[in-house]
Structure formats: structure tokens, C-alpha cells
Assembly symmetry: C2
């Protein structure tokens, strides 16, 4: 079984030098996030991730969550680990202090969450879903709802779920059919079946708080008639403790490709008269509330891509150092560890460079999220929010697609052993495969990027992003040496391709919407590579400064520059081709009549 150590050196570098954690800690309300506190949190989280969560990852996969009529039993060790997790206060580090949270910035939470996801993705989904439910209640719930549910949920004593999907309503929530009938006493009776409910049932806590999308009797059709309800597994007593069992149950759990320890539930509401539910906010506004939470959820899934890539990389690197096979290509000596073979090196560098680029982009977006929430200047808040909203589909779509690729390289480096389940490399690949699907497929992220994030504001945000990239390009142009010449050339070509494709979208989306959207995913991939290359270029510039300042750690900084160059030559090199596909490939995508597919 593979070990996991949080990549603290790179995390600190990205937090400090690229995401500007010190500036984040100066935003009003984040004063407690001092450098010392942040460092302490990161160190402790690293210990918990490698010491408690990582060892349960492979056994959890093998054992899986088990459904019985009486409920769902989690794999051995999960209950205890969850107990320690909430006892140590990890569940609420990002939540509002008013209800017991620690109120840490998103930037810090992102780094901590990367560790939970990398050490045990299946486990991490439980607090992830709880966080989503907390956010829904915090943003839209009545004071009574907040008081009744938030403290226990933030503490982690009760977990939360999100019930959106139904068999006929996956990506298209307009088709939701679950019903909620008002009882005249402020409560509702909820009826219907929901599928793909992550941690819809488990044995780790005394209550589970379901957030359920349903239609009231007179609701309009489509997405404008969906309301959001709190439906607890156990209805609360007058004293706030869990009381009577509510009319809901987990009918079965799915047999999945990966994340076996995370129970994916089919939930039945109201089979015996109706499940008691409480409206969140107003009727028919449910989808709006969901959309507000969606950014956070999509960002979190994007982080799963970063995390699984890091985990797969660590395991492959160890194997490449240990496995002795074949001779040195240049001098014939050996047998040598396979890390000496150029193609193994190439695969490791593909893994390393993309993981670092994704981490940098994700943390930078998290920091902008903090500024969007807490910056004293309204213009700055607005500017940062636009940046975050633009970047979310890129972080979600690109990091998850890349996470799968990186996990696949991890298998490849293991050779035949990679195909044997006991090795553990295959689990990362299997686990990663859901990330490009849930919380909106890559196709949906790409449509969001073009439709809502580029076209809707007339290109204002993408122009400002391109302007910021041009500044970095200019800085690269002033840097010396062969490495920076290569980084500059690669980034400039990538930026040009990105700009060309963006202009193509602006000029053609009205007259040829299908043709433009046929290139949406290639465009998203292009955007991811160029944004990742941008952050790697920034990282290289910082590294060069650090080297010039001579403060030590030269090996790390030199490796960062070499890794940025690798990214430019092996990833940014794909940008012109992606732009060409985006710009020219729409017609041929749609040309073959359906019956000849």
C-alpha cells in the first residue's frame, strides 16, 4: 500500500508566493489566519492525512461501504477516523465562527482539503457534502433552521447531503419530479426518489441532514419551480436532539468503478406518508440557491483532480526509484532503477508539472475567492468575483481531466504491476474517473465557461485575464537564460492561441452556436493549459528572484524553473492545435447525419 506525505514544500511555496496568503490574512475577518496559524494548520492537517486517512484508503476501497436493510456500514476504521476528524475540529475550519466554525480563508481550506482528498478521496466526500449543506443553510436558511442545524453540522456530529439527481433528471434539473406538500404548520411532506446521493446513509454520526430539491403542488414547470428542503434522517425533538425516525430510507447503494468506501445511495422519501421537510429560503428559489453553492462544490471537485494527481505521482515516483529493470541508455550500465529511463522521466515530469500547475491555479483562485468575499473595496470584490467565476469551470474541468491522465501515467510507470489491484495505482485511476462527471461534466463546465463566463459579460472578464497574462509574458521577456526563453516562447504561443480562440467565440457564437459549442471542451482544455502555464511562469519568475536573493533552497527553485520549462515544452505546445480545432472543427463535428454515426 502506498504512503502519502502532503507536498508541504510546494504547498507553502504556492500559498506564499503565488496565492499571497499573507495578503489574504490581512483581509477583514481573516485576521486570525496569521502566517504562524496557517503554518500550524497545514502541518497538523498533513499529519492527520498521512497518519490517519491515508492508511484507510486502500482497505476502504477493498472493503467498500456495505448496504443492509438496516442501513449502511462503513469500512473498518472509518467511524473512528471520522470521530478523530471532528474531534480535532477539522470539519468546521472554513465555516462561520457564529455557529462554531473557525472561519479560515478559502485559501487555507483549499490546501487542507487537498490533503484529505489525496489521502482518502472516498472519506473526504463526507465532509465535502456536509460543507455544501452547511453553506446552503447558512446562505438561505431562516434563523431557526440555522440555529437548529448549523452548530451540529459544523461540528460534524451530523453530516449533510445534497439530493438533486433523479433517474430522469441528471444534468437537467428541469426534469425533477420529487414533490413537497405543505402541511399548513410550516412543514412539508416530501415524496420521491433521489439517486447518486453521496453519503446518503452511513453509520458514522447520529443524524444525517438531507437537502432535497422538490416541487410544491402549484410550482411552475421546469427549473423555476424547484424548492429546497431540509429533511433530517431523525426529526429533532423540542430540545434539539434527534428524535423520531423520518420517512426516508436508503434503498440501495451503487456498485461503482471507484470511491468504493463512499456510499452512493438511492434514497426514497415518503414511502410511508411523507418525509417531514423544512423549506430553505423561499419556494421556487431552490435552483438559485444551488447555483450559489455550485462554485464551491465545483472548485472542490477540481481540487480532487489536483489531489489524486499528487497521490498518484508520489506512488509512481517511489516505484520508479525502487524498481530495477533495464540498462542505462547512454552508457549501458545496469540494471538501473527505471527512473533513469528517459520515458519514465518524461512520465514523471508530466505528472509533476501538471500537478504543480493545477495546484498553483487552484490556490490562486481560492485566494481570489477570499478577496471576493472580504476585500474592503467593492470594486476589488467585484473584480475578484468575476475572476473566480471565470476560473471555476477551468479548475473543475481541466484539473479533473488532467487528474485522470496523471493517474493513468501512474499505472503506466508501474508496468504490469499497475494492473494488479494490490499495488494501489489502479485505485487512484478508478477513483479519479468520477471527477469529470459529478458536479457537472466537463462538457457542462465548458458550456458554462463559454456561455456564462465569456459571452454573457461581452468578454470583459476574459479580456482582463488575458491582460494579466500579458503582463506575465512581458516579465518573462525580460528574464535571462535559455530556460526563460523557452518558457517565454511557449507561454506566448499559448496565450496567442487562447486569445485567437476567445476572439473566435466572440465573433461566431451568435451565428453558429452549435459550431462554437462543438469546440467548447477543446477550448476548456486550452484554457486550462494556458492558465496552468501562466501560473508555472509566475512560479518560475519567483524562483528566479529567490535564487538571485540567495536565501537557500536553491534545488527547489531550480527544479521549479526546469518544471515550468517542461510544462511550456510538453503542455503549452498543445495550445495552438487546440485553438485550431476550436476554430475550424465545428462543422465536421456536426456534419455526419445521426443515422450514419
Amino acid at each position: 500500500m502506498s504512503h502519502y506525505s502532503a507536498p508541504l514544500r510546494d504547498m507553502h511555496f504556492v500559498l506564499r508566493e503565488l496565492a499571497g496568503i499573507e495578503q489574504v490574512g490581512k483581509l477583514p475577518g481573516y485576521e486570525e489566519a496569521t502566517p504562524d496559524t496557517v503554518d500550524a494548520i497545514i502541518e497538523e492537517a498533513a499529519k492527520f492525512a498521512s497518519g490517519v486517512l491515508a492508511p484507510l484508503n486502500a482497505p476502504g476501497d477493498q472493503q467498500g461501504a456495505v448496504w443492509r436493510d438496516s442501513g449502511v456500514t462503513m469500512p473498518t476504521g472509518f467511524l473512528e477516523a471520522y470521530g478523530q476528524f471532528i474531534e480535532n475540529g477539522w470539519n468546521g475550519i472554513g465555516a462561520e465562527p457564529e455557529y462554531g466554525g473557525q472561519g479560515m480563508p478559502y485559501t487555507v481550506v483549499a490546501a487542507v482539503n487537498e490533503m484529505w482528498k489525496a489521502s482518502n478521496m472516498a472519506f473526504s466526500l463526507c465532509p465535502l457534502l456536509t460543507t455544501g449543506a452547511i453553506e446552503a443553510i447558512t446562505l438561505n436558511g431562516s434563523p431557526e433552521l440555522k440555529a437548529a442545524y448549523l452548530p451540529k453540522m459544523i461540528e460534524g456530529s451530523w453530516t449533510g447531503t445534497m439530493n438533486l439527481t433523479e433517474p430522469q433528471a441528471g444534468s437537467d434539473l428541469a426534469l425533477v419530479r420529487a414533490r413537497a406538500v405543505p402541511q399548513g404548520d410550516g412543514t412539508y411532506k416530501v415524496f420521491g426518489q433521489k439517486i447518486f446521493i453521496t453519503y446518503g446513509e452511513h453509520d458514522m454520526t447520529e443524524n444525517i441532514i438531507h437537502l432535497v430539491l422538490a416541487r410544491t403542488p402549484d410550482a411552475p414547470e421546469g427549473v423555476k419551480g424547484i424548492s429546497l428542503f431540509v429533511v433530517p434522517k431523525f426529526i429533532l425533538n423540542a430540545d434539539g436532539t434527534p428524535g423520531a425516525r423520518n420517512d426516508l430510507r436508503c434503498v440501495s447503494i451503487e456498485h461503482k468503478l471507484g470511491i468504493h468506501a463512499s456510499p452512493t445511495c438511492v434514497m426514497a422519501y415518503g414511502d410511508n406518508g411523507g418525509a417531514t421537510g423544512y423549506l430553505v429560503g423561499k419556494e421556487n428559489e431552490g435552483l438559485k440557491y444551488m447555483f450559489v453553492m455550485m462554485n464551491a462544490a465545483r472548485f472542490a471537485v477540481g481540487l480532487e483532480g489536483v489531489a489524486i494527481a499528487e497521490r498518484a505521482y508520489q506512488q509512481a515516483l517511489q516505484y520508479a526509484r525502487d524498481r530495477v529493470q533495464g540498462r542505462d541508455l547512454a552508457d549501458g550500465s545496469g540494471p538501473v532503477p527505471i527512473i533513469r529511463h528517459p520515458d519514465i522521466r518524461r512520465m514523471l515530469m508530466m505528472m509533476k508539472s501538471q500537478t504543480e500547475a493545477m495546484r498553483a491555479l487552484a490556490y490562486v483562485v481560492a485566494a481570489a475567492h477570499d478577496a471576493a468575499r472580504r476585500h474592503p473595496d467593492a470594486e476589488e470584490r467585484k473584480r475578484n468575483l468575476a475572476f473566480v467565476e471565470f476560473m471555476i469551470p477551468i479548475v473543475k474541468g481541466w484539473c479533473t481531466e488532467t487528474g485522470i491522465d496523471v493517474a493513468s501515467l501512474g499505472i503506466q510507470i508501474h508496468g504490469g504491476m499497475g494492473f494488479i489491484e494490490e499495488t494501489g495505482a489502479a485505485q487512484h485511476w478508478r477513483d479519479s474517473r468520477i471527477t469529470t462527471i459529478y458536479e457537472g461534466t466537463t462538457g457542462i463546465q465548458a458550456m458554462d465557461l463559454i456561455g456564462r463566463k465569456i459571452v454573457r459579460d461581452g468578454g470583459a472578464t476574459i479580456k482582463s485575464v488575458i491582460a494579466a497574462m500579458q503582463q506575465t509574458a512581458a516579465q518573462l521577456g525580460q528574464a535571462q537564460g535559455e530556460d526563460f526563453a523557452a518558457i517565454q516562447a511557449g507561454f506566448a504561443r499559448g496565450l496567442q492561441a487562447f486569445t485567437d480562440a476567445a476572439l473566435y467565440i466572440g465573433g461566431n457564437v451568435q451565428k453558429d452556436i452549435k459550431g462554437v459549442f462543438a469546440g467548447a471542451v477543446p477550448f476548456l482544455k486550452l484554457a486550462g493549459i494556458v492558465c496552468g502555464g501562466w501560473q508555472m511562469a509566475r512560479a518560475a519568475l519567483v524562483a528566479q528572484e529567490m535564487l538571485a536573493a540567495g536565501g537557500g533552497d536553491a534545488g527547489f527553485y531550480k527544479a521549479k524553473i526546469a518544471t515550468a520549462r517542461f510544462f511550456a515544452e510538453h503542455l503549452l505546445s498543445q495550445a495552438p492545435g487546440l485553438a485550431a480545432t476550436m476554430i475550424k472543427g465545428g462543422a465536421s463535428t456536426l456534419a455526419v447525419p445521426e443515422e450514419f454515426l
Copy 2:
């Protein structure tokens, strides 16, 4: 569970128009492969694949092969299916008529094998390994060995295996330690452990004939001291029937990511005094014999990529037609089947165009293999053999890498259902993952391509391939219309990139072998895309001729041209980036010191 229908329309097109099956049937010794016979074989194989093998694919995955101390039990239905398979004569269709084979050309065998692999990859590995063993004995065995083993193996009543790998000797066979001690009576006693032995044990036949690599006592070190032995599970009686149990056993089978129905065995030889073995050919020549068989084996694994892509495509296409979700992007009507959404179309076209390109390339290489074996003109045989040897690593490496990508798109089209094992889309992806590893990883194929197939003959073969491609490019230049302009532009750019990269290899491999080999896999991918694009361009030119001739089937031919254009705009567009990575990316791949990875 998904259905499979052999893609007969495209298979016939490729066989006739691109691979030239009629010319193949005129080669001396292939006269029985008349168009009528070939058609009949293809039709019958299609029925067997969809009717018998395909329905066992998903149940075989779920049940898996089961090891017990007494042996390995195959999943329900496999024994009966195998019985029918050999009863119908499928096992020997490519084998020598002298020993009971049908002597069909490789081209026909390739098409038939694609069907076995697509309908049930795990099943298909059994006859695949038997074929390898048959070939080893046919090419190198003594008349006595041939007479004793070939008839039963060609018939399929006995299966064959290949025992190469040991725990410390995977890709590097120099490290093989298994021993073979001569007994003075012409036989040897074989000792040692072998791993990853496909169908090393099963309950479908009365004997299993193992081909085992081992060292004799005085053998030189390294690859020059390896000999090849026939080691039957049951030693033959004087009358040729299986008699005493030999001293070998299956110790365990692997718990794998995919191909669960194919038992991957750990084999122990000689635990009780030595397993009786018979030398194949001469001592210390074992690796040479293996290399001769390797082309066929690598080609066969490349076909697995084609096959799994076809299977995944068929399943995804059906789902995309059936699943109703979301509204039409242009007119807002709906909900519509998801096949109407541009990104779903793009994914289907990625699957379709790459599958067709891979099939075309594979069958063309098979036809060249036939010409290399049977053409009356020695020069033509030599020319075709060089072409085949050049193309084998491309077919193996590119088709398998692409097969995984295509299977992944199949999951993505299914959305959340793709992650649920019952849907079956995930199995194709899991099954496909071994194909880039066994019979030499993609990295090894890429090194073979550069080292043995380009550098060794001073670039003579690649020059002739490029010259042939230039002829196709010239023909494209004379074709009319927007589609051909796009195909021509894409192919010309791809060919230029391929040529540039090839020249770079020629100019730099001596002075910077590691830097050049660091780009070996990007180069192999580039070669695959350009070779695939070449065949799609040829296909489009034929389709245009057919349309001009007006013989019907216009829909198929128009779709072929549109698909070729899609391939040019979505795949060939990647070629310049891959060439740039190959040419510039060597130094940065190797720049980071090992301790900073």
C-alpha cells in the same frame, strides 16, 4: 448489458478498398481466400461474436476466473463457448494447413480477431496465446515437436501459453532466472517461477502447452543465454494422448483491474523434482525465437485497442440516442436525446474517427504482412516486411493508447451511469488499461520505433513511408471541395511535422540519445496520428470515387469523407505540437535532478 454487432460495413470497406483483400487473395498460397470465402468467414465470425461471445463479456467480468488449489474455474458459459469456438474451426483459421489449419491470410484473421476482442477481450486472450505458442513451435520446433503438439493446438483442443516474465524480469528478460537442466535423454527438467501467465491454468481443455524461457546450466549471462522449452501440463503418452501430470502448477491468480475472466497466473515449475520440458530449436536462441513471434503478438494487442474502441463506441452511441436530457442548444426544443448536444457529438466523432483510422491502419499492415510472407517477388516481400516492422510499434502503441482514450469517452458520454459498473461502460475502460502495458509498454514500442525501425536502417524505411504519404497528399491536392481542402491542409501539416521530427531523430540520436528518447512516446503518438490520418485520407479519396461512380451507399461514403475531415481537424491538428515537444522537449525532461522529483 451492451450488445455488440461487428461493424461489417466498415470492415468490408477497409478490407476491399484500403487493405486490398482481393490482391491478397491472389498471392500464392492464399488462393482459397476468394472474395466469397472471405465474406462468408466474416459473416459467420460476426454471428459468433455477437451471439456467443458478447453476452458472456459482462458476466465474465463480474464472476471472474476463480483459483482453487485444484485449478482454475472459468466463469459460467466460457467452457461451452470455447467448445463451440473450436468446433466451428475458429482456432486454426490462420494456421498452417499442413497441421490442420485453414491458412487464411493475416488480413482476414485480423478482421476476425477484431470481432473476438471486441465481443469478449478476456475470452479472446486464450486463442491469442495459443496462436503465439503455435507460431513458436511452427517456426522453430523439431518435426517431432510439431507432430506431437501442433494438430491439437491448432484444433484448439489444447491451449498454449507464453512464460516469459518473472518477478525481477518484466520488460528486461536479461534478468530471467528460471533453470532448465538437461537429462541426457533429450529432455530437460525445468525449475522456476513465472508470473503474469495468461491462461496459465483453466478448465476448458484437457491439456495446456506451456512455452517457457529458461537458462541451461552453462548458458551465458543476459539475453544470450535464454532457451525456449515446451512444458506440457500433462506429459504425452506414447500414443500422443495426455498422460502423467507434469511438475508444474498454478500457485495463484492475480486480482486485476480488468479482463477478470482471463486468468493471469503465477506458475511454479519443478517444485517436486523438475518439470519435464522439451527444447524448442537450439539452446540460447530462445529470445531470438520470441522476437520473431513478437510482431504478431504486438499487432494482436494493437488490434485489442481497435476492438475495445469499437465496442465502447457502439455502447456510447446507443446510450446517446436513448438518453433524453437537456434542450436543443439552437432552438431550445426538447428535452432531446443527448446525441443532439454538440459536445456529445464531438465525443462520438472522436470515438468513431479514431476507431476507423485505427482499423484502417491495422488491416493495411496485416495485408502488408501477407505480402511480406507470400509475394512472389523477393523485393516486394522485403519491402513489405520493412513496412510491417516499421508499423508494428505504431499499431501496438498508438492503437492501445487511443483505445483507452476512446473507452474513457464512452464512460463520459454515459455521465453518472458510466461510473456504475452495471452499465458496462467502465468494463471496457478497465479492460483496455492493460493493452498499453503487456507485450511491451508504449515506452518500449516507442524505443523500438526509433531505435530498431528508424535509426538502424539509416532512415530508409521511414523515407519510403513518407514518400507514400506524399503521394496521398498530392492526390488530396487534386480533389475538389471544402472537405478535401480541410483534409489536405490537416494531413499536409501532420506530414510536415512527422518529417521534421524524423529528421530531428536522424540528426541527433547519436549525440543526444537520452534527449531524443525522452521524446520517443510523443513521436510515436505523432506517428500514429499521421499514419491514421493517412489512411483516413485514402478512405476519403476512395469514397469520393465511389460517390462519383454513383453505385449507391452514398450515405456511408459521405460520412467517411466527413469523418476524415473531422480526423484532420481534431486529431491531425495535434501533430505540430507533438513534433515541437519531440524536437525541443528533451532537455527539460531530464533537467530536474532525481532527488528533486
